[in-house]
């Protein structure tokens, strides 16, 4: 079966094709949602943000120049909107609400270690990384972005992507070490 490319769908969207909009939305909504949710940690807010992201796509489809992939473009818009919301709502209560909704993942790494599951302990530490570190880890490890794509989405130089990810990995290792899991680095 022929699958229309994202770029072709964007062209159709630029001419007001609603069906193309639905197809593109269906194709990317889950990943964009997860990326935003990992940043804002609030499901309702994440849904609002992705609604705004795709509305921007609808309005600006004719400005898409194809210098980056549609996925990268969407993630960059999503990232800007998510951070804008984070700046507005950056308060402890939001994080507490989110943490309360995570079951096993909300256990501290020390508690998780008692459960003898290294994977759970790593995930608990991933949850506790700063938003700046979480976003580069998620982009590279889950969204499988290149250095260039990560730089474009986050809006930082390529060398900064590499050093930021290095520090995020180091921080993760330090958190695990503090919880009793020494992986030999750092």
């Amino acid at each position: 079966m022929h699958t229309e490319s994202d770029e072709d769908l964007v062209k159709r969207i630029a001419s007001g094709d609603r069906l193309a909009m639905k197809v593109l939305f269906s194709r990317h909504q889950v990943r964009v949602y997860r990326f935003v949710l990992r940043l804002v940690r609030d499901e309702t807010l994440a849904e609002d943000v992705i609604g705004d992201v795709f509305m921007d796509l609808w309005r600006q489809a004719d400005r898409f120049e194809g210098r980056a992939s549609v996925a990268t473009w969407l993630l960059a818009i999503a990232r800007n909107k998510a951070w804008s919301q984070l700046r507005k709502r950056r308060d402890a209560a939001l994080d507490d609400d989110y943490a309360a909704n995570i079951e096993d993942e909300s256990d501290g790494p020390e508690i998780v270690l008692q459960k003898q599951d290294k994977g759970l302990a790593i995930r608990a530490c991933l949850e506790r990384l700063s938003a700046e570190h979480r976003e580069v880890v998620d982009l590279v490890y889950y969204h499988e972005t290149s250095v260039e794509e990560t730089a474009r989405i986050v809006g930082i130089p390529e060398n900064t992507v590499k050093t930021r990810l290095f520090h995020a990995r180091k921080k993760l290792g330090e958190m695990l070490k503090a919880a009793g899991i020494d992986r030999g680095w750092p």
Binding site: V23, R27, Y33, E47, L126, V140, Y142, E144
Partner: protein, 231 residues
């Protein structure tokens, strides 16, 4: 303790590229440099293993986040409808008053009582909704019964899954026998990082049963290198 890799600029440069080597998003020349270095540098190879562990857990963490509710699309389409049409129509009708069909239509509408216009508007809206339902139904039917996301193909609540990656030394025949033993099938993958989403049964399996299957799979370390229950 001094980080011997980080304190050597050449090794540090390669080390910082390891995550992109692991996710498969790296230039061929850099890949070759890293592979040469990995063969001779045990510290770098150990870092790569850590990265692969973290990558597997990051994938699992994200896969468990679920998906947005259908109301996001509903609201989006309502927003598109709300912003798309009124302004151009109004502008054209206003510009065209007294000229041709639009002018005639504008004059006709202007002559009607507000209540009659409201009834006509409601009828027109209902007609548009009916057309929309019919067109959408046709489109969805043509698309094979519904849309599927590229990021989560085949995932629906009637099945249970694990996320796994195969050991580099596993042979095709062993992998085929492995799937047969577990009555499992691949529903997504491989991703660039080598992970597959694998169906292990239907929704009647409990979390504990899926965990038990994952544990039995994990025991086959000659075939799989990572297994975990996935949503």
């Amino acid at each position: 303790m001094t980080d011997s890799v980080a304190s050597d600029p050449k090794r540090r440069e390669l080390e910082e590229l390891l995550p992109f080597y692991a996710n498969g998003r790296i230039a061929a020349a850099d890949r070759a440099r890293i592979e040469a270095a990995l063969a001779a540098d045990a510290d770098l190879a150990a870092r790569l293993e850590i990265i692969r562990d973290d990558m597997a857990e990051t994938v699992l963490l994200n896969e468990r986040l679920g998906a947005p509710s259908p109301r996001v699309l509903d609201r989006l389409l309502a927003g598109i409808e709300a912003q798309a049409q009124p302004a151009p129509l109004l502008t054209r009708a206003t510009d065209g008053l007294g000229k041709g069909f639009i002018g005639w239509l504008g004059g006709l509408l202007a002559a009607q009582a507000p209540r009659r216009l409201a009834y006509a508007g409601a009828c027109a809206a209902a007609l548009i909704v009916l057309q929309g339902v019919a067109i959408t139904g046709l489109a969805l039917r043509d698309a094979g019964g519904g849309y599927r996301t590229a990021s989560a193909p085949g995932s629906h609540a009637t099945e249970r899954y694990v996320l796994l990656s195969f050991a580099p030394e596993a042979r095709a025949g062993e992998i085929a026998a492995f799937f047969k033993r577990f009555d499992a099938s691949v529903v997504d993958g491989p991703r660039a990082n080598g992970f597959f989403k694998v169906r292990v049964g239907d929704a009647s399996l409990s979390d504990a049963q899926v965990d038990a299957i994952a544990a039995r799979m994990k025991a086959e370390s000659g075939i799989v290198s990572f297994v975990a229950a996935a949503p």
